[in-house]
Subunit: 222 residues, 2 copies
């Protein structure tokens, strides 16, 4: 490639990175809004999450197309190709995180519409802190092309899984005490499940960064 073409190509890759980080920011915002909306009962904020989900879906389709076009046009090799392939995988996981945030918001809206009766009290603050931290660090690793973050994200995913299991135990104890809490307990269960899934996707994203930086597939190695 000529110097001119290389510079254009670099701009295209940089544009993709910027778009993905912007999409990541939107998804982070959705997750935060779903958590805060659930904690405060601000249903306007929760409904905003449903709006944002459409934007995130559109971003995925757009960025996916840009990546496809760049691969077809530039026929990149080695690290550039890995960046593009990893980018397509990143946006897939990001979009799924957006889906989970949407589920959380829907659950929270239903929760407040039904009123607080028969609702078990569950504190999700520790679990949500871990999940949002995992996601933020995975995106940050992508921005800085830093593969070193994966180990700590994988460790944190195990902590999130423990929180999820403890939530199930707690919900079971509520239902055993009063079976009328079952409907709301199942809502809570799915709220927690959505957070746990965001943790899984964040772990995937950290693994895509390792593949991008080192060209090594680190999935399924536990």
């Amino acid at each position: 490639m000529t110097g001119h073409t290389t510079a254009q190509f670099d701009n295209e890759l940089e544009d993709i990175r910027t778009r993905i980080l912007k999409m990541g920011g939107q998804v982070e915002e959705m997750i935060k809004a779903a958590l805060v909306g659930f904690a405060t009962g601000d249903t306007a904020q929760l409904k905003g999450v449903l709006e944002m989900e459409h934007k995130v879906n559109a971003s995925e389709v757009e960025i996916d197309e840009v990546c496809n076009n760049v691969i077809a046009k530039r026929q990149p090799a080695a690290s550039d190709l890995r960046f593009l392939v990893a980018s397509m995988k990143m946006i897939r996981d990001l979009e799924r995180c957006g889906d989970e945030a949407e589920k959380m918001a829907r659950m929270a809206i239903r929760f407040y519409e039904a009123g607080p009766s028969m609702a078990p009290r569950i504190d999700f603050s520790a679990m949500s802190t871990h999940v949002t931290s995992m996601m933020h660090r995975a995106l940050d690793a992508f921005a800085r092309e830093d593969a070193s973050v994966v180990d700590s994200v994988v460790r944190e995913d195990k902590i999130v899984d423990d929180h999820f299991r403890n939530t199930i135990r707690l919900l079971i104890s509520y239902v055993l005490e009063d079976s009328r809490t079952i409907s709301r307990s199942i809502d809570m269960l799915f709220f927690a499940k959505a957070m746990e899934r965001i943790g899984d996707h964040s772990k995937n994203m950290a693994e895509h960064v390792v593949y991008m930086v080192k060209g090594r597939d680190v999935r399924h190695q536990s």
Copy 2:
């Protein structure tokens, strides 16, 4: 490309298609084994599912690498590139279906180890028939490069979602009748959730086939 190289390239693409269909067959087998094992209590069969999951994971990593290498080496354009990109997405969803089958098997093993006490009776046969049909038709569409199947798969996914919601209602009624069924009900809930997820992934796969054949992104259009 010369005629010779084109023939080699065609062989490489055909090899990828064959590998994916083989991987698909493995995942279908896992799902069937999880369902039959759960229905019959054959724990040896259920434990077989856990073994198979490792093979499916390895297949994903292998095929992903082959696709990456072919893209880097052949620098394909247009329909060949779409085939390769769609292939990488197919195996991702297939691997997730394998994960869900593994979860079903684990749940079923726990179910039989705990004994049948306090277990709600749920008939999953209709839901599982739809899910296995969706998956089989998505794989078949990939094999035959047939985009026409997507509409019926999307419709069937809605039926599966209805079954899932009905399962939740039924489980709630069991727990309201006797709260001691709660633990086993949650197991059943996750068993059904795993099936519902396999339906989602099958829908994704049918959508990847449309992209592959028509070059059009049909996700997020409902």
